[in-house]
């Protein structure tokens, strides 16, 4: 997009337009092109989400409006447009109306730095990875504002739980994000993808990917971390008072956020646009990114529709007592192995030009370390599970039978 903007800018400047205006117009066209991708995708995502959920639950899902129900989202949008929009009298009007806008905008803004192909992206910021984390904090803010502005006890309680959840899981998320940044030696997302020319980072640091995956599932408020909805206890959580299109915006933001995280994971760990023949055409590169991101997105939907919801104390304990120490340990292991290998001249210092062979020794050592860590963790988890099962049998003898059955 850079070349495109500069090119368009020079074309406009040649026609005699003011250079500032030419730049502005070319930037505007660039913004509209880049933001068009998420805006078009989101309409499709709602359909995919419902269809996948339905199939997992052994239903058919939307199939009436349009071919295989593809136009269902359009119908829903028309319905939402004609719905009355209630603002409670007790609400803080300005914040109440601003919250859904900020929520959706914070997700769309992430797409400014996403590299679609080697040459097509909004911007290649020097601090791309950090931008991703910083912009996500606006989403947290929107939820907090929505919960507070609704002036409803359920909404406020829901918002507080969600915000506590979001900030807690941001810690392992960022520690996991540091692994690709460290390996690539750059925060620019384009550089991170280029650095995976030799080896995808998911191979170099599988644990970082797992931690990132779990944390981003929590960041989007999906099961098993879906306190964000918690229909059974908080009615609907922070968006209880919202109706009509504003309610729709919160949901569209959530759907888009899940998919965006899939794309980000594809970029950080699965080599983004890399794949056979990606250099032949930008379309092939774009298709690779979409396929990888889509696959990760599908697994998050799968997970969402399979696992039950956790309690907030369990979620917090899992984060602070398991995920955070693990993500710190993982970062130390990755940095230690990389530095030792570099000192022994077995790993390249410039990963951007490193090939598969250059990275092979590091990969093997890192995989061995990761394997050892995973085995150790599985041991801990199995022990904790056994303890929890025994505890529940002692305190609730009436469930002993079921627990034993479930245990086998």
């Amino acid at each position: 997009m850079e070349e495109f903007c500069t090119g368009l800018c020079s074309i406009l400047a040649e026609t005699g337009a003011d250079p500032g205006l030419a730049l502005f117009l070319s930037l505007l066209v660039g913004v509209l092109l880049v933001s068009g991708v998420p805006l078009i995708t989101v309409i499709l995502l709602i359909w995919i989400e419902r269809k996948v959920a339905a199939r997992i639950q052994d239903r058919i899902g939307p199939n009436r409006v349009g071919p295989v129900g593809l136009l269902q989202t359009i119908a829903d949008m028309i319905k939402l447009l004609s719905k009355e929009d209630i603002t409670p009298t007790a609400a803080d009007r300005v914040l109440y109306n601003a919250a859904p806008l900020v929520s959706f905008a914070s997700v769309v803004l992430l797409w400014a730095v996403i590299p679609f192909t080697p040459f097509h992206y909004g911007v290649d910021l020097e601090i791309g990875a950090l931008y991703f984390v910083a912009i996500a904090s606006f989403g947290t803010l929107a939820i907090m504002a929505a919960g507070w502005a609704s002036n409803n006890k359920y909404a406020l309680l829901g918002a507080f739980r969600v915000v506590a959840l979001l900030v807690s899981y941001e810690v392992p998320l960022v520690f996991a994000l540091l692994a690709p940044v460290l390996l690539a030696g750059s925060m620019s997302l384009v550089d991170i993808v280029n650095a995976q020319n030799g080896m995808w980072f998911v191979v170099l640091s599988p644990l970082a990917f797992v931690i990132f995956y779990i944390s981003s599932q929590a960041e989007t408020g999906r099961a098993p971390f879906d306190l964000i909805e918690a229909e059974s206890e908080l009615v609907a959580g922070f968006n209880i008072e919202y109706s009509g299109m504003k309610f729709g915006m919160f949901f569209a933001a959530e759907f888009l956020h899940v998919f965006t995280n899939g794309i980000i994971m594809a970029i950080l760990f699965f080599g983004g646009w890399m794949g056979p023949l990606y250099y032949e055409s930008p379309l092939i590169a774009f298709a690779w990114l979409g396929a990888k991101g889509g696959l990760i997105y599908f697994t998050t939907l799968w997970l969402r529709n399979t696992v039950p919801r956790l309690r907030i104390d369990q979620i917090m304990a899992f984060n602070w007592k398991f995920l955070v120490p693990l993500s710190i340990a993982n970062l130390i292991v990755v940095s230690f192995v990389l530095k030792v290998m570099q000192e022994l001249q077995l790993a390249p210092r410039d990963i951007l030009s490193a090939g598969f062979g250059d990275l092979l020794p590091t990969t093997i050592i890192l995989l061995l370390f990761n394997g050892a860590m995973i085995l150790y963790l599985l041991g801990i988890l199995r022990k904790r599970g056994r303890e929890a099962r025994r505890e529940s049998q002692e305190t609730r003898p009436e469930f002993a039978q079921t627990a034993t059955v479930a245990g086998h």
């Binding site: 806008l101 900020v102 006890k153 941001e170 602070w320």
Partner: protein, 120 residues
């Protein structure tokens, strides 16, 4: 395209990003019915009337999580430049980074031992 133009792009994006969700809301504002009444605009609480102030006192645990998060947030900010420059460092770079992380992990374990991480 220089650095500031990149940020002009981000800035323009930031200006336009809230417009996209605002458009459907404004369109809905044109079409939607408007029949508010007192009951409809009252606070929703499953049919019963809401009692007292919404701004009830929250548990202190939220604040403790917030504090721990803040400390880790600042730590992560220091680690980003460290990670970016990591490939150019000697073994000393690892030792410095390790000590930095290790000290803060101590604080996490202190919180753990003092049961500050438990939801109560």
């Amino acid at each position: 395209m220089n650095v500031l133009n990149e940020w002009a792009f981000v800035g323009l994006f930031a200006v336009l990003a809230p417009v996209f969700p605002a458009l459907p809301i404004v369109i809905a504002w044109l079409f939607r019915p408007r029949k508010p009444n007192v009951l409809k605009s009252s606070t929703y609480e499953c049919g019963v009337e809401t009692i007292g102030d919404t701004w009830v006192q929250f548990r202190v645990q939220y604040y403790i999580y917030g504090l721990i998060f803040l400390v880790f947030d600042v730590e992560m900010v220091f680690l980003f430049p460290w990670a970016v420059a990591y490939n150019e460092m000697s073994l000393f770079g690892f030792v410095a980074g390790f000590l930095f992380i290790f000290l803060l992990t101590d604080a996490l374990f202190y919180a753990w031992k003092k049961n500050a991480l438990d939801w109560k």
